[in-house]
Symmetry: C2
Subunit: 347 residues, 2 copies
DNA sequence: TTGAAAGCGATACCAG
DNA sequence: CTGGTATCGCTTTCAA
């Protein structure tokens, strides 16, 4: 059963034929002054003093016409804009990440930048970079790691004074906020090892786009356990019940005594399937998630997790601002991901 | 403990001094042709035939300089753009909604529109509308209900050929996708009533921005139960454990035999608190959520929920396209929210 | 087939 | 204090 776009009858008559969009010339005409004067008045230009009556007439005319300046024309003339371009991430974003993004936007707004989300970051950002560059943003903030040195060069050549990537690996020529997801896996693995677990599973989510994080997390696990007697087993898992049930059904055969479930959502999915299968948690198998979501505290047993700390939006905004003001400085590299275990009852 | 912006040393030397941004004039000069010819070649203008050797020279020059056209200049000249502006929603979006948004973007992209997210929709959209209008979008897609007739007028006067709102209530002059959240509450209430429940609680989330949905959902519940012997009790609830525990502690005193928990996340929160308090579900109290998230199926008892159906992104994109092509038509109003109960074990 | 030139809307210099 | 005017980068007639 689908309910889609059921049109309901509407009353209002077709609107009046649209007048053409008013320009500063229209305002000038109506106010009986020149376009220059209009510009001075509406921008409060301090270098020039305009008489009060004139100002009034200009403002009145602008209001009457519903005049709104044309951003493109303005920035064309000015030769620059304060637009920060941020392509939408192409991976499913959790509450953590989306809060971070919102914070960044807000902080950049405070610094008088205009944040614009255009298009989607993805595996082919070097091509997409051309499209982004057409907008002549003063800075570009790219989540994920689809952008290479070529893309950065395109953006810089077309006037971007700062390119910042948010990804596990830095990119030549761009500032980098290094989201070190290895640390997450490292943390989780050390915790499980310390609790006496030796045969450790690592969930690899099926969700497209998540490899960006899951692969480094796995690497972190491997790294933490190198040289110990522990084993690491990859466990592909799609985000649905059937997949979880299948995995749980062959669980005992795997002989694992612990699992790092990628994040809290996958942990919940897997934990439920294991419990349905009669696997005792944490007795038979310890489970740890990541992201420290609310839902982990609501599960029974309460879910152990890796708490992830992202930088404040303000910090990132200030990095962008610094870079814009002084584009000549070498790209900064910041490690911005803090990971720490929150031990609860599932491990 | 906070890990924030730990700078790590970096090797690369400061980049070469940035040349100024190449324009089509530079390309023309390098190719030894006029700017007009450059434009013809790069835009594949069919009205004019350019010799193959010339085309080659132009393309080569463009590539060598890393030329990227200036979108603002182009649309200034053209007198219009294909930008669809979509302010980001100012309420916390669930997976349902964000998938819808992504779909819309994709579908509009297919129709050759450029979707740009700029700023945030909010309670003061009539003021924000001015800022949006500066970008001269050909269409504006506004989630939430902060935009009034005034804001719509501003946008239209500055050239927007279509304004579409996604909200419970229509706005004068704008096309409307009516998200009828009353239907959600209505559905839930009828279900609970049919299952013999009479003293019905309705969770009102504390999350800012959610009143947009919670108020209509409550109204839907009230409406469904009007004229029956059932009672409706509002239950304010913040999205944290303490708040849930407090509510659960006074639960028996409330004497409710059912609760519509706003959505699945709040339902999970409340259900856990009730279970911790020893309240039997569904025996003593029935619980129903909304949004039909995965997590509902993972809870025990499995969570009953209201499944919500949003229109396809393609449909919305086509509405926008229609409106842009023929702005004279009266605003369309569409009911776009389908609601149906998914009965599981919690009710 | 190519080039010269007008003009989109806003701003900032320089005269008056 | 205010008005003419050149200019930003690009497209598109109109002529050659």
């Amino acid at each position: 059963m689908r309910y889609v776009m059921v049109q309901i009858p509407n009353t209002p008559p077709p609107p009046a034929p649209p007048r053409s969009v008013p320009t500063s010339a229209d305002v000038a005409r109506l106010a009986g002054v020149s376009r220059a004067t209009v510009s001075y008045v509406l921008n409060n230009t301090s270098a020039v003093r305009i008489s009060e009556p004139t100002r009034r007439r200009v403002h009145a005319a602008a209001r009457e016409l519903g005049y709104v300046p044309h951003a493109a024309a303005r920035s064309l003339r000015a030769g620059h804009s304060r637009m920060v371009l941020m392509p939408a991430p192409n991976f499913p974003v959790g509450p953590l990440y989306s809060r971070f993004i919102a914070e960044v936007q807000w902080a950049l707004g405070r610094l008088d930048y205009t944040v614009v989300q255009y298009g989607t970051a993805g595996p082919h950002d070097d091509e997409a970079a051309r499209a982004w560059a057409e907008l002549r943003p003063v800075a570009v903030l790219v989540p994920g790691s689809g952008l290479g040195a070529r893309g950065v060069a395109v953006l810089k050549r077309s006037g971007a004074r700062a390119v910042v990537t948010l990804a596990p690996e830095p990119v030549e020529g761009a500032h980098a906020l290094l989201m070190d997801h290895e640390a997450v896996g490292h943390c989780a693995a050390r915790h499980l090892y310390a609790r006496g677990r030796r045969r450790i599973g690592v969930v690899m989510p099926g969700d497209a786009g998540l490899e960006l994080f899951s692969v480094p997390r796995l690497a972190g696990v491997r790294h933490a356990l190198r040289g110990t007697d522990a084993t690491v087993t990859e466990l592909p898992l799609a985000h649905d019940e059937e997949s979880a049930a299948r995995l749980a059904a062959r669980w005992r055969g795997l002989g694992l005594d612990a699992v790092f479930a990628y994040n809290d959502e996958y942990a919940m999915l897997l934990m439920r399937a294991l419990q349905d299968e009669g696997v005792a948690i944490p007795g038979e198998t310890a489970v740890i998630g990541a992201d420290d979501l609310m839902l982990g505290r609501l599960l029974r047993p309460r879910l152990s997790t890796v708490h992830i700390e992202l930088p404040s939006g303000r910090d990132l905004a200030e990095l962008v601002d610094r870079a814009v003001r002084d584009p000549a400085t070498a790209p900064e590299r910041h490690k911005v991901l803090g990971a720490s275990v929150v031990h609860r009852d599932s491990s």
